[in-house]
């Protein structure tokens, strides 16, 4: 048996009362891809941040090459050949690509100039991996996929023996994900240990050698790939036999148009919508797919009456919802779950009860009542205390709070932007159940998501947005799949699988 390059021995990490990692034991071997699989909040990232030195273990120890790890910070980790690509990247968007690479390189010479050898060397991996990226352009000008390549270059530059990737495919298109999977295999073949933190089974299937499953801070299982079936692994991940089965309610027999988008045009800094037309019937769920930043957020704000449209109209049951100028005040009749709920949907220094009754407060009717308590319980907001301030809730619970407000009462139409962001599987099920219940009761639903599998499983029709335009609206007749949608999202032909 090969010797482990890194080894966790009874490692525990606490943050106050919270035990993020509980008595973890794990070995990482050279030349292998170890997938750490688990739900959001299972402790996957924290476990690996312990190895990278972002956090230190509260108890237990980590061995590197059989020796107790002397890593007390990321700087030490890099010197010891441990590199990590974070989920939200460690790039400074105001700096150039070259400067970002120089920052993360222990061998950066003091004087940086175009001519000295050290500065040229730092760009060598970039030229090899991504020759199309100009090292002098600012990182803010790169696409997400390009930014990830720069991150990978940083890790390659330190000749890392252990490469940790935190949810690397969450921001990529299907084609970019496949390229990354191939790259991960290539690294492993060169003898590097790759640790892949993910909650996507597709990543695991594509490139993992060993699969460690985490649940609630504990490593519940470590097994070589192929030893367990995917459904066994999912069961381990979730602890109970919850299946992620979602299906929308049947369409009503008679089609009654409910929400009508007519040639909407709108502009915002860096984005404009062109002639968006779509009609959603009562009881219909329409999914909106697209790569992030193609106009979804602007469209949602126009529909919700937050951002004015330059032309076109949105009508719900024949009544216009659109904002004509900035001075108008109108409360949207839609059940609207915006993206980034902490920023866009709650007043953090108000109680949960007031947040659930924002519309009533705005219209001067302060009817804070016991319905609120039921809503918190029904939507699993934890802790369900009506007098608690919204600022004290975690991201997932805040998302549930907003869902409770928007989905907890009957609505004529629902506009949901990434409604399951940051939620665990049972909460996701609950949100979908509530959305579909609204549809069954006759609401028109527009559902913006990046999770193509869920969109395919849960929508009657799928619209694809690209560059602020609807490029296609497809009936979800069982023929749609990730590849066809991905191709439409990016405007490319579906790529053939590379062996």
């Amino acid at each position: 048996m090969q010797k482990a390059i890194a080894c966790f021995e009874n490692v525990t990490r606490r943050f106050g009362d919270l035990i993020a990692v509980n008595d973890a034991n794990l070995e990482i071997f050279p030349g292998e891809v170890t997938a750490i699989l688990g739900e959001n909040g299972a402790g996957k990232s924290t476990l690996m941040k312990l190895l990278y030195g972002v956090h230190l273990p509260s108890s237990g120890r980590i061995l590197i090459n059989g020796e107790p790890s002397a890593i007390t910070g990321p700087a030490d980790a890099m010197i010891n050949g441990v590199g990590m690509v974070f989920q939200n990247f460690s790039l400074l968007s105001a700096l150039t690509v070259r400067d970002n690479l120089l920052l993360a390189w222990p061998k950066t010479p003091y004087w940086v100039s175009e001519n000295n050898k050290g500065t040229k060397e730092v760009l060598a991996n970039l030229t090899r991996l991504a020759p199309h990226i100009n090292p002098h352009s600012k990182v803010s000008n790169l696409s997400v996929g390009e930014q990830q390549l720069v991150e990978l270059c940083k890790v390659l530059n330190i000749s890392a023996r252990i490469v940790i990737l935190d949810e690397p495919t969450s921001v990529l298109t299907p084609a970019e994900s496949r390229r990354l999977h191939g790259f991960i295999r290539q690294l492993a073949d060169e003898g590097v240990s790759v640790v892949l933190i993910t909650h996507k089974l597709a990543d695991v299937e594509a490139c993992a050698d060993r699969i460690a499953v985490m649940r609630k801070g504990q490593i519940v299982d470590v097994s070589p790939r192929g030893q367990k079936s995917m459904s066994e692994i999912v069961t381990l991940m979730m602890g109970s036999d919850v299946k992620r089965e979602i299906s929308p309610p049947a369409l009503p027999k008679k089609r009654v148009e409910k929400l009508f988008l007519n040639k909407i045009c709108a502009t915002a800094p860096g984005m404009s919508l062109k002639d968006i037309s779509l009609s959603i019937a009562a009881g219909e769920v329409v999914g909106l797919a697209g790569v992030a930043g193609n106009g979804q957020a602007l469209l949602a704000e126009v529909l919700a009456g937050i951002h004015p449209a330059t032309s076109g109209d949105v009508a719900l049951d024949g009544i216009s919802l659109i904002r004509r100028n900035q001075m108008e005040t109108l409360a949207t009749p839609l059940g609207y779950i915006p993206e980034l709920p902490r920023k866009n949907a709650v007043v953090e220094n108000m109680t949960l009860a007031k947040n659930l009754n924002l519309r009533a407060l705005a219209s001067g009717k302060a009817d804070v009542n016991n319905e609120v308590q039921d809503l918190l319980t029904r939507f699993h907001v934890n802790p369900p205390e009506i007098d608690r301030y919204a600022s004290t809730l975690s991201g997932g619970n805040l998302q549930k709070l907003v869902s409770a407000r928007e989905l907890g009462r009957p609505r004529a139409a629902i506009l949901a932007c990434y409604p399951t962001m940051g939620l665990d599987i049972s909460a996701i099920q609950m949100i979908y159940r509530e959305i579909f219940a609204q549809a069954e009761a006759g609401a028109a639903v527009l559902w913006i998501s990046e999770d193509l599998d869920d969109l395919i499983a849960g929508s009657h029709r799928i619209a694809i947005i690209r560059d602020g335009q609807l490029v296609a609206v497809k009936d979800n007749d069982g023929k749609l799949n990730r590849d066809t949608l991905g191709a439409m999202m990016t405007g490319l032909k579906p790529e053939r699988k590379v062996a």
């Binding site: 910070g73 400074l92 700096l95």
Partner: protein, 307 residues
């Protein structure tokens, strides 16, 4: 005719440069500090301390260079307080800066009373036998001291250093995001400590130049808000060291113009007239914002202070 014009131009440019020199040092120091995401309103106090200690040491030793050195060290000492409050105790940066300023104002007023009316040996002028005979350059160099070329060199070096050295890039990184910097193996607190101390050094030095070199006197609260002006000029210079020089010179020019207008006997109130430099700077700020079209070039982590 042209010789007269030349002399006039020479006199104005000398006056402008000399008036701008203390500001150039403090603004440069504050720019570098702010580039790491720390705002230090205490530079007003650090400048005062530098002016007071620098003058005292200059008077006591008879050596203006020792005075400048002591002034710079006084600035460093005072900036340690800001660093301890902000980095050590996580105090509010604005509050901490104001505290440093007030402490310096009180102590320099108290200990500075003994200095009023004293004479300090000035820095030698740059005139030499080579230039003395020349019609224009003679008086130009004759009225200039080493502080002016030093200020210009400091700006040039700092601008180049920030963009072209490992440490410079690290400073920029910390100003953009302390969290991301630390993920990249930089220790943001160490960087910020160095930046605050360097800001203190340059502010103290600028203050000492004001008392030892430019005015050659000490008066209570003699900086009269120049340190706070520097904080404003940092914004006008868009956090770019290279722009510190022209911006400070424009401000200095406006100041000189005010003095000349007063001596020329303009019938406007001197108090109103004294607002001219600030109006000029405000105008530049408006123009540069309108031209840049983006909100600012402010280091991202600095926004945190105002959030």
């Amino acid at each position: 005719m042209s010789a007269e014009l030349l002399t006039l131009l020479g006199a104005w440019s000398i006056a402008t440069l000399r008036s701008a020199t203390p500001l150039i040092f403090t603004t440069l120091g504050e720019t570098l500090t702010q580039r790491t995401g720390i705002i230090n309103l205490g530079i007003e106090g650090e400048m005062l301390a530098g002016a007071c200690v620098g003058f005292a040491v200059g008077v006591a030793t008879g050596n203006p260079w020792l005075g400048l050195l002591a002034g710079a060290l006084a600035g460093v000492a005072l900036s340690c307080l800001h660093a301890a409050l902000v980095l050590g105790a996580n105090a509010n940066q604005i509050g901490s800066g104001l505290a440093v300023w007030m402490i310096a104002l009180g102590t320099t007023s108290y200990f500075g009373r003994a200095l009023v009316g004293n004479q300090v040996t000035p820095l030698p002028d740059l005139g030499s036998q080579l230039t003395d005979g020349l019609p224009f350059l003679g008086s130009f160099f004759g009225q200039m001291t080493m502080s002016v070329p030093l200020a210009i060199a400091a700006v040039a070096f700092a601008a180049w250093w920030l963009a072209h050295t490992r440490t410079g890039i690290q400073w920029q990184a910390v100003g953009e995001s302390a969290r991301i910097s630390s993920e990249n193996g930089i220790r943001p607190k160490v960087v910020r400590l160095k930046a605050i101390l360097l800001g203190g050094l340059l502010s103290g030095f600028g203050g000492a130049i004001l008392s030892v070199d430019y005015t050659q006197t000490w008066a209570q609260d003699m900086t009269k808000g120049r340190g706070l002006i520097s904080v404003g000029l940092v914004i006008v210079a868009r956090w770019k060291p290279v722009l510190v020089l022209p911006i400070c010179i424009i401000f200095g020019l406006a100041e000189v113009a005010v003095l000349r207008m007063q001596t020329a006997g303009w019938s406007i109130s001197p108090h109103l007239l004294a607002t001219t430099p600030y109006l000029v700077v405000l105008l530049i700020l408006i123009i540069s914002h309108a031209a840049a079209r983006r909100d600012t070039d402010m280091p991202a982590d600095l926004r945190r202070v105002f959030a």
